[in-house]
Structure formats: structure tokens, C-alpha cells
């Protein structure tokens, strides 16, 4: 990998937000907001320039300290990482704009919560670092940067529910990190390298590798709230402040998924069996049904949205069984790999946009009403039509109706499912969609219903509503560059690849 063109963008993408976060610590509440917002805009601009660079030059790397792996650490932006960084930048900048106005409104009663901006920039840097990293241990450190700053953001409001949910989240995050790190230790012990690209070449199947795969998957599943480790997500995401919920749900959980995807596809190919893919697919399927059903049963808006995240993350896990080929099938003959990958990427991006918009809208409603019980959404359409529209559009994208990004994801997923002949996943996808439609339209029905009690809607800055709406529209617009996006991704080595399990069975996998 060291022969690729080098560029200083990877270093800047991590360094700049941290520099700005550090800088912002020197200011008071107002100054931090200014530095924070400026930092967000700068980071977004930098991310976009970096992506442009990748489209021009292909995968670029940065060898930190000039030490080649395996001793040193290598950062790389390949198209897959670029897409994630782009998603982070686009959604992140909207959330930053929202936060800017949000905290200005809340300034009176909270003092503006000065920790938000530095923590958010640290989180951003951590996510960038996570997407860029090509080193197993470095991934652990970035996971921790992301994890601690995410929990810290989640407890910002200082309310008891937020603190309790935050502690649960934090303990889950630490447990997940440690499990991940144990796997890293075993891998390092058995290969003497931490570099992902090198590992892909030297890792041998065996009991140790299988166990490392198990604990790493376990740890990352805990971190991304995959079923059955989803318990921490709904309370943590629903108790946080609106911009925080948005970025936790839309962005942070995707980090663990990204690592899982990379490691499964690039490192653990030798140790994976067809059954492993099916197993994680089942976890995803249960999450889809269970999460959607739970969302359907909730009575407060943020809890609905939070449970919906569990379900939407389940769809991501359902991509894995398609990527691991049945015995006898080769990568060349498997024509569903490209749709399956597209489904995964589109699910990530469209969920990021739609969920961010949903949580931001929920924040607006809480700001207007003082609470988020859904009965009070009555006549939302009359009172706040922009927010109602944002919720409607974001909901449509979550359901997966055309022509949203969610539709693209579900279409490609179903197509992959049919092409691969694993038809048993299809009912799950459809049931999930129907249940999602159930809770989204439950909200919309209330939004159109006549007001019953006199819930007074306090005025909320229009700019907040517009940001939420723009994100919702974004979840539709992302369909249009699909062709370009897929072409771009196809130039990355990992996109469109599948795993051909070497053999079946063994004691608990390949031995």
C-alpha cells in the first residue's frame, strides 16, 4: 500500500478539528460557538477538497512520521473512506448550523453549554481518524476518542435520565472497546502486524483468528448497537439534546459499522464461513423487526426515532450475509455483490440524512412544546409546516419509498437478496418497511389531526426548521449522484468484493 501517492489531507482531516477544538477551549461560551462553527465549516470544506483530491488521484495515503507499516501507522483515503468522510462532513455541517442556533436559543437557561463545541470537534476528528485509519490499534484509539466524546455529548443536558443513559452507553462502549482490543491483541500476537492491508495478506485461519474475529465482532456489535446489544441506544439517543441525538444516531454508530465492514472484508476473509454471515444477518433481521415494532409502540417522539435507529442499523447487518458467498460460488459469478454494497452504502448515507433530520425536528418540537409526547403533535401541520414537512420527508426516506435514498438502499438490498437466492431475507425487509410506515404515518396522522387540547406552540427560529428540512431533502437528493458515487466507489479495492469461504465446518468455524 505504501506505493500509493501521498497527500497531507489525511493528516489535516484529523489535525485541523483537534487544533480548533483545542483553540476553542481558550474562549468563553460565545467564543467557543464562533470557533466551533467556523471549525465545522472549515472541516467540511477540507473534507470536500480531500474528496475531490481522491476523485482526481485515486486512493491517497499519508505515512505518519515517515515510518512504513508495520512499525508505523498509515492513513489512507480510499473511495470508501472518502464517501464516509463526505457523509460526515455534509451531515455534520448541517448539525453544526442547527446547533449554532439551538444553543443561542437555549443560552438563557443553560449558559449555552460551552462543552458542546470542543467535544463535537473532537468527535469529528475522531470519526475522520476512524475512517482514515489503516491500523487496528489506531482504530481502537479513534474508537475511544469517538466513544468518550459521544457519551460526554450525550450527558450534556445534565438531566438524570441523560446521565443514567450515558453511563449505560459508556459502559457498553468501554466493554465493546475492550473486547475489540482483545481481538487486536490476539491478531498482533499471531501475526506481528497491525496494518490492515498487511494483515489481509498474512493472516492465517485458526482457532486464534476465529476467536479474534468473534471478540472483535462482538465488541463492534456492542458499539454499533447491533441486536442483541442494542439496549443502550434508545435511552442514550433519546435523552440527549437534539443536535447531539442527531449526530449520535446519524453518524457515530456508523463508525463501528465501518470498521466491522472493513475488517470482515479486508482482514477476516480467511476465517469467515457462510454460516457466520447468516448469523449476523439473523441478528440484523431481528433488529429490524424488533426495533421497528418497539418504535411503533412508543409514545414519545424521540424514543420512536431512537428505536427506529436500532431497526435501521439492522438493515446494515443484513448486508453481510450477501457478501459472504456460499461454497462453490466465486466473486466473479456473484452478480449481487455490487447491489449489496450499494445497498449498504446507501443505507448508511440515507439513514444519516433522514435520522439527523428526524432528531433535529424532534428537537424543534420539544423546543416549541416543552415535551415530545406524540399526542401533542396534533395539528403540527398547521403550526409548523416546515417541520411537519421535514418529518414527512425524512419518514418517507426511512420507509424506503421512491425516490428517496432509503428506497435506493432497500431496492438494492432486495435485488441482492433475490439475485443471491437468499429469498428468506425479503419478508424481513418488507415487514420492516411496513412497520416503519406504521410509525411514520402514525406521526403524520397526528400532525394532520385537529388540535384537541390547547397545546401552545412557542415560536421557534425558522432557521432551525429550515436546517432540518434541508437534511430531509438531502436524503432524497443523494439518489441523483448514485451513478457517479458507485463508479467512484468501484475504484476502491474493497467495494464489490465478496468473501469466498475456504472451507466449511470445523469446530466452530474454520480450523
Amino acid at each position: 500500500m505504501t506505493h500509493l501517492p501521498t497527500s497531507s489531507f489525511p493528516a489535516l482531516l484529523v489535525g485541523l478539528p483537534i487544533l480548533l477544538a483545542t483553540l476553542s477551549l481558550f474562549f468563553g461560551s460565545k467564543g467557543r460557538a464562533v470557533v466551533g462553527l467556523a471549525g465545522s465549516l472549515l472541516t467540511t470544506a477540507l473534507s470536500l477538497i480531500a474528496i475531490a483530491e481522491v476523485t482526481r488521484r485515486g486512493t491517497v495515503i499519508h505515512i505518519l512520521g515517515g515510518w512504513d507499516p508495520p512499525l508505523g501507522i498509515l492513513l489512507r483515503i480510499d473511495p470508501l473512506a472518502a464517501v464516509f468522510i463526505g457523509m460526515l462532513a455534509l451531515v455534520g455541517v448541517f448539525i453544526s448550523l442547527y446547533a449554532w442556533w439551538y444553543f443561542r436559543v437555549r443560552e438563557a437557561d443553560t449558559g449555552g453549554l460551552p462543552q458542546f463545541w470542543p467535544l463535537w470537534l473532537f468527535l469529528w476528528a475522531g470519526m475522520n481518524g476512524l475512517f482514515l485509519s489503516n491500523d487496528l490499534f489506531n482504530l481502537f484509539v479513534t474508537l475511544e476518542v469517538v466513544g468518550i466524546s459521544a457519551v460526554a455529548l450525550a450527558v450534556l443536558s445534565g438531566k438524570t435520565t441523560a446521565l443514567t443513559a450515558g453511563l449505560r452507553y459508556l459502559l457498553a462502549a468501554i466493554t465493546g472497546s475492550m473486547a475489540y482490543l482483545f481481538g487486536v491483541a490476539l491478531i498482533y500476537g499471531s501475526t506481528g502486524t497491525l496494518d490492515i492491508s498487511l494483515l489481509g495478506q498474512v493472516l492465517e485461519p485458526g482457532a486464534t483468528t476465529t476467536f479474534a474475529l468473534l471478540v472483535i465482532t462482538l465488541g463492534l456489535m456492542i458499539k454499533m448497537a447491533g441486536f442483541p446489544f442494542h439496549f443502550w441506544l434508545p435511552p442514550a439517543h433519546s435523552a440527549a439534546l437534539a443536535p447531539v441525538s442527531a449526530l449520535l444516531s446519524a453518524l457515530v454508530v456508523k463508525g463501528a459499522f465501518y470498521i466491522l465492514l472493513r475488517l470482515w472484508m479486508e482482514v477476516f476473509g480467511v476465517s469467515l464461513t457462510y454460516a457466520a454471515g447468516q448469523l449476523i444477518g439473523v441478528a440484523g433481521a431481528v433488529a429490524v423487526i424488533w426495533g421497528s415494532w418497539q418504535a411503533f409502540m412508543q409514545t414519545s417522539l424521540k424514543l420512536i426515532v431512537a428505536h427506529s435507529s436500532v431497526a435501521q442499523l439492522g438493515y446494515l447487518l443484513m448486508v453481510f450475509p450477501l457478501l459472504i458467498l456460499a461454497p462453490g460460488v466465486t466473486t466473479d459469478s456473484a452478480d449481487w455483490l455490487s447491489p449489496a454494497w450499494t445497498a449498504g452504502i446507501y443505507q448508511v448515507i440515507s439513514h444519516a440524512f433522514a435520522k439527523a433530520s428526524f432528531f433535529l425536528s424532534a428537537g424543534i418540537i420539544i423546543m416549541a412544546l416543552g415535551h415530545d409526547r406524540i399526542e401533542s403533535l396534533r395539528n403540527l401541520v398547521g403550526n409548523m409546516r416546515i417541520t411537519a414537512m421535514a418529518i414527512g420527508l425524512a419518514g418517507v426516506s426511512l420507509i424506503g419509498l421512491p425516490p428517496s435514498g432509503g428506497f435506493m438502499a432497500k431496492w438494492m438490498l432486495l435485488k441482492g437478496i433475490f439475485l443471491s437466492g437468499q429469498w428468506w431475507w425479503a419478508p424481513v425487509v418488507l415487514t420492516g418497511s411496513l412497520l416503519t410506515a406504521g410509525y411514520v404515518f402514525m406521526l403524520l396522522r397526528l400532525a394532520f389531526a385537529p388540535a384537541r387540547e390547547m397545546d401552545t406552540f412557542r415560536p421557534v427560529p425558522k432557521s432551525l426548521e429550515v436546517v432540518a428540512l434541508l437534511l430531509a431533502i438531502g436524503s432524497f437528493l443523494i439518489v441523483f449522484p448514485a451513478d457517479f458515487l458507485i463508479q467512484f466507489l468501484e475504484s476502491s479495492a474493497v467495494f464489490g468484493s465478496g468473501i469466498e469461504p475456504i472451507m466449511e465446518g470445523g469446530e466452530y468455524g474454520n480450523n
Binding site: S338, V381, P403, M408, L414, L430, R445, F448, A449, L485
Partner: protein, 499 residues
């Protein structure tokens, strides 16, 4: 592929842009809103006329936009599509006028007109879509843009109706989705008219293709209100009259019926559908729905509900026509697409006029209404005669062709169904006509309306008269060139020539 043309897209944009702009306007900007609306409607009709003229000259209009991999957004002009698009566009223009009058001073008019425009965009999109994917996109878009119109009144009843509507249509949409993806996987991106693809695959994948056909059919049958998936249609009659008129007589339900036509003729092909016995199943369901809808209509006192069940029944004529192979039945089915639209919209306008002017919603209140609203009820009477199938109104033509075709195909039972249905039609429409014209009014006229004007106001009246006359004209001038019948016949002949 052929060169792309922006014209089909413009036809869509002519209602999409006004819709979005109206959403951004303020509630009070009535003038600008009306202008946008009418401008869009007129532009749409003119564009379709332009394209029609070009099409007759032999020009091809297609528009492509590749989304991803083999997902292509495609608009294509063919005769069948244009036929349906023209119907939607003309009736949109008429209904817009009607709605402006009907909703004067009402609530949320901005929302209403915006979504109304979006609905029409969706139904023209369905008409002009060139492949299955595009059709599906607009089909779902139609569902979504109709929802705010169904719950427009915002009452609990309306919201409940909205819920029923959504469960049916989203459920149908999901099944359709499954079918569409399955079709994609098996047969690739199918463009309408490429029946040879399925024909070549049917021997290899008979089971899968059969399952897919019925998945697709079920998804479409929801909107076409074929028994037992018709439940949403009578419920959603709580919507304002223009909505019921355009959407539940034309745009939404016809989208389903049109979809069935496309499915049988342009995707699977009549040959395959007949060989695999799909058509018999469809015919059975359609025939049953015809009778069932009529019987249910008989027992409705709510004016609009009776019309709604009548719609359920009448829509299945189209399905039935599709299900009996033959040029004549196809002609009947396609022409009924238009004829039923014109007649039913007339009836809904009339019902709306009565409700708006006098507040009567039930048939039992209509005693002598014809004396006060002669023009409205005159138009209604014409349409009712048409529905029953009396010559020379449009409905007669469709029924005639359907019956003739059935005899030619040897399906004599269809004739029986048609006769029975006509008798039932008569049984539920004639009492209204009779009551309106020959009963004594129950109340003093002056007490009912202070303004002194007995007939509905002009904006409400003109559309109903126009559509009433149109339904008469479509029957009387059926034989002349350019009439719906002649176009339908041309389409049907082309379809069978291809075989």
C-alpha cells in the same frame, strides 16, 4: 437508444413546479396561486397536445436519466400513455377551476392546491413512464401526495380515513415493490412494450414469473379497487369533492387500472398472460367486483358513497376488458378508461355542487333538486344514463365493445355479467334521477338560500356542464377520427398486431 427529448419531462414539470411553488407561497397570495395553478394546467394540456401532434407525425419522445447501475428513470411517449396523460391533464384543468370555486374561503388552500398539483404530476408520470421502475416511483409518489388531500379536512373521520387509505396503499405498494424487484432480478430493467423478454423467460421460470405476476397484480389491484382490496375507496370519500372527483374517479384508481393494462399488455404480453391462465383469474375477480360493487352501491344512502361503490364496480370493467383477450374487448377496456373518467367526474362534480350549495349529502334529501339545479342535475342525468349504458352516451360505447368482444371470444358469461351490472346500475342511478326531477321539493326554496340564486355558482357549474357534454360527445361522435374510441381502437389493434 433513441435520442432523448426533454418534452416528456416538461409535461411533468408543468405541474410539479407550480405544486412546489404553491407550497412556498403564503396562504393569502390567492391571485398568484390561482395564476400558477391555471398556468400549469393550461401549459400541461398544451404540451400534451403538442406532443400528441408530434407523435402522430411519427416522432419519438423519450427521456432517460440513469440513477445507478441498471436503475434508469425513463419517460416515453406512446399512444396509451398519452391517452391517459391527456385525460388527466384535461380533467385537471377542469377540476382546478371547480376546486377554486368549491374551496373559496376554505382552510389550507395552499396545501390543497400544492398537493393537488403533485398528484397530477404523479398520475401523468404514471402515464408517461417508460419502464417498470419509473412507473413504480410515480405510483408510490401518487400514494404520498394523495394522503394530505384525503385528510384535508383534518377531522377525526378524515384522519381515520387517511389511515385506512395508507394501510391499503402502502401495503399494496410494498407488494408491488417486491414484485418489481423480483421482475428486475429475473428479467432485467423491463421497458414497456418489451414483451418478448418475458415471453422468452416464461418457459424457464414459470413458477417465479407467475408469483411475480400475481404480486404485481395485487399491488396494482389495491389502487384499482378490485375486490377484496377495495375497502379504502368508499372510506376516503370524506375528502373534499374535487379530490373525490379527480383522484378517486380518475387519477388514483385509474393509475391502478392503467397499471393492470400495462402489466398485461406491455410487460407480460397478452400471449403469455393468456397461455398461463392469468387472465382467467383476473376476469373472475373483475366480474365478481362488478357485481359486488353494484350491489353494495344499491344500499348506500350517502351520495358520494354510492358513487364510490359505483366506481369500484365500473373500474373492474377495465380489468375485465383486459382479461378477455381480443381487439374488441381491449378497445372497450381502454376506452372505458376515458369514458368512465369523464362520466364519473361529472357525477362527483354534481354531488359536490349539491353538497356545497344546499348542504345535502344523502340521496334521500335530493327530492326535487333537479328543479333548482337543472344544469347540474342535467349533466348528472346524462352521466347516469351513460353509466347504465344507454346510447348514445359514452358508457354505452364501452359496454358495447366489451360485450361484442366477449361474444367474439366465446365468453358468453361476460355478457351476462354486463347485463346484470347494467340492470343494477339502473337500479341505483335511476332512483336518484327520478327523485331529483319528479319528487316535490320538501323545503321552501327561499329558506334554503338567501342569495336568491338557485343553481350553483358559475365556477362550479361550468366544469360539470363541460364534462357532462363531453361524456355525451364521446358517445355521439364515437365514430369520428380523434374520438376516444378511435384512438382506443388504434391502440388495441397495434397491441394485437404485435403478437
Amino acid at each position: 437508444m433513441e435520442t432523448t427529448s426533454i418534452l416528456p419531462l416538461l409535461i411533468l414539470v408543468s405541474s410539479l413546479i407550480p405544486g412546489i411553488l404553491i407550497l412556498l407561497l403564503k396562504e393569502e397570495q390567492v391571485g398568484l396561486r390561482t395564476f400558477l395553478n391555471l398556468f400549469g394546467a393550461v401549459a400541461k394540456v398544451s404540451l400534451i397536445a403538442w406532443v400528441f401532434a408530434g407523435y402522430l407525425r411519427g416522432e419519438e419522445y423519450t427521456f432517460f436519466f440513469s440513477l445507478a447501475l441498471d436503475l434508469t428513470f425513463s419517460l416515453r411517449v406512446d399512444q396509451l400513455g398519452l391517452f391517459f396523460a391527456a385525460l388527466s391533464a384535461v380533467l385537471w384543468l377542469v377540476t382546478t377551476l371547480y376546486a377554486i370555486g368549491y374551496l373559496e374561503g376554505g382552510m389550507h388552500r395552499r396545501r390543497f392546491f400544492a398537493f393537488f398539483s403533485l398528484c397530477v404530476t404523479a398520475s401523468t408520470g404514471i402515464a408517461l413512464s417508460g419502464n417498470v421502475l419509473t412507473f413504480f416511483i410515480f405510483y408510490e409518489f401518487l400514494t404520498l401526495s394523495t394522503y394530505p388531500l384525503v385528510v384535508h379536512r383534518g377531522t377525526d373521520k378524515a384522519v381515520e380515513a387517511g389511515r385506512t387509505y395508507l394501510w391499503y396503499t402502502i401495503g399494496g405498494g410494498t407488494i408491488l415493490f417486491l414484485g418489481v424487484v423480483g421482475l428486475f432480478v429475473l428479467a432485467g430493467p423491463i421497458y414497456f412494450g418489451q414483451t418478448e423478454i418475458i415471453a422468452s423467460l416464461i418457459s424457464d421460470y414459470p413458477t417465479q414469473l407467475t408469483i411475480l405476476f400475481f404480486l404485481l397484480l395485487t399491488g396494482l389491484a389495491v389502487k384499482a379497487a378490485i375486490f377484496p382490496l377495495h375497502g379504502w375507496l368508499p372510506v376516503s370519500m370524506v375528502a373534499p369533492a374535487p379530490v373525490s372527483a379527480l383522484l378517486h374517479a380518475v387519477a388514483v384508481v385509474k393509475a391502478g387500472a392503467f397499471g393492470i393494462v400495462r402489466l398485461v399488455y406491455d410487460v407480460y404480453g397478452v400471449g403469455v398472460a393468456e397461455k398461463m391462465n392469468y387472465l382467467n383469474v383476473l376476469a373472475a375477480f373483475a366480474a365478481f367486483t362488478i357485481i359486488y360493487g353494484s350491489v353494495r352501491a344499491l344500499f348506500q344512502d350517502d351520495f358520494k358513497k354510492r358513487l364510490a361503490f359505483s366506481t369500484v364496480s365500473q373500474l373492474s370493467y377495465i380489468a375485465l376488458g383486459v382479461a378477455i383477450p381480443g381487439v374488441l374487448t381491449s378497445t372497450g377496456a381502454i376506452v372505458h378508461l376515458v369514458h368512465q373518467g369523464i362520466m364519473k367526474i361529472t357525477m362527483f362534480f354534481a354531488a359536490g355542487n349539491v353538497a356545497e350549495t344546499y348542504g345535502y349529502k344523502n340521496i334521500s334529501q335530493l327530492n326535487g333538486i333537479g328543479r333548482r339545479m337543472p344544469l347540474t342535475m342535467g349533466a348528472f342525468t346524462i352521466a347516469a344514463f351513460g353509466m347504465i349504458g344507454l346510447p348514445p352516451v359514452a358508457g354505452f360505447i364501452s359496454k358495447w365493445y366489451l360485450g361484442l368482444g366477449a361474444v367474439e371470444a366465446g365468453s358468453y358469461w361476460v355478457v351476462l355479467v354486463l347485463l346484470a351490472s347494467s340492470a343494477l346500475n339502473a337500479a341505483y342511478f335511476l332512483p336518484i334521477v327520478y327523485r331529483a326531477w319528479f319528487y316535490e321539493p320538501e323545503y321552501e326554496v327561499s329558506r334554503l338560500r338567501q342569495s336568491g340564486r338557485l343553481e350553483a355558482q358559475a365556477l362550479l357549474l361550468i366544469p360539470v356542464v363541460v364534462t357532462g357534454l363531453l361524456s355525451l360527445a364521446a358517445g355521439v361522435f364515437a365514430a369520428s377520427a380523434g374520438s376516444p374510441l378511435s384512438i382506443a381502437r388504434e391502440i388495441a389493434e397495434k397491441l394485437y398486431m404485435l403478437l
